[in-house]
Symmetry: C2
Subunit: 197 residues, 2 copies
Amino acid sequence: MYTVSTSNHRYHHGNLRQALVDAALALMVETGGTDFSLREAARRVGVTVNASYRHFRNKDALMVAIAAEGFRRFGRALMEGALEADDPQGRLLGSGRAYVRFARANPSLFRLMFSSFNVGRQEEELTLAGNQAFDVLKSGLATFLDKPADSPDVAVAALRAWSLAHGLSYLILDGQLAHLPLDEDTLIERVISNHAG
Amino acid sequence: MYTVSTSNHRYHHGNLRQALVDAALALMVETGGTDFSLREAARRVGVTVNASYRHFRNKDALMVAIAAEGFRRFGRALMEGALEADDPQGRLLGSGRAYVRFARANPSLFRLMFSSFNVGRQEEELTLAGNQAFDVLKSGLATFLDKPADSPDVAVAALRAWSLAHGLSYLILDGQLAHLPLDEDTLIERVISNHAG
């Protein structure tokens, strides 16, 4: 493998990978999408595109890693949202609020994570991160419903909570609620709250 | 206005407009998106692009008309869904099922209707068609909740039902539920039913 670093930085294996993911995430925020190259991400961290090939064979591979990083952050956000309250219902609502908040704060990342781009990819990192995020909702609902986390009722309830938060997030991201007389925070609170209430 | 028809067809004013909308809808189905020109839609109905300018000043104007046509069909589908039952809850569930069914049957049209492309356009036809579709959900919920259709509770409940059906539709369209062990129809039935149940 011939890699030439044009940079003064020295990256250990894991560091360069993470640096490329971070650079790509920053590029997504700046460009509002995923319309940039692996070369641009490499340039951003000060290495050649050849050096980046050690970690990502192409841009798609980088996108998968970004989606996985997105799901890890998303899972943490849902957990932190649950910590806003002590009771099972309050914890669920906290996760629901955190779901929509994450979508609003990271629109391009959110769209990438849930786009068909990821479907059918047998990438362990992505599957794991996605499942961990969904498990936060499942575990919150298992407690709330007082049923085992692997019961069908919990799975359906989690999918319902997911659909609700997902639909509200998309309606907001796509500007479909901009004409409503309520401010968005009140709207989210009322739509999410009454659901579990 | 210099328009030359290359066709043997003779279109009255309203007929050509609708013919262009129908042609564009067919092109969306065939191409799986909106990546075609006004010229292609005109060619499809056998008129020049100049003739099409009498009805649509550019492709965006055609897209707005398509979205409005989509919302009219969507509104009718929600109403027909409500007719699947006689009781208020059954009618709501019928509309919910019809919502997701419409999204699955018309993925490109559904995405166009709810995309940010339409936001902020003060197009009377589009606003009217969109409101009429949403009013089907509102009126169903007003009956179900036994409250006036213009009450805040009904508005929030309608937005919740909309979010739920919208989120489930997007999760299905984007292939996010393909890995689940349930078939999609069962999934939709359980997610939608338990909500209003």
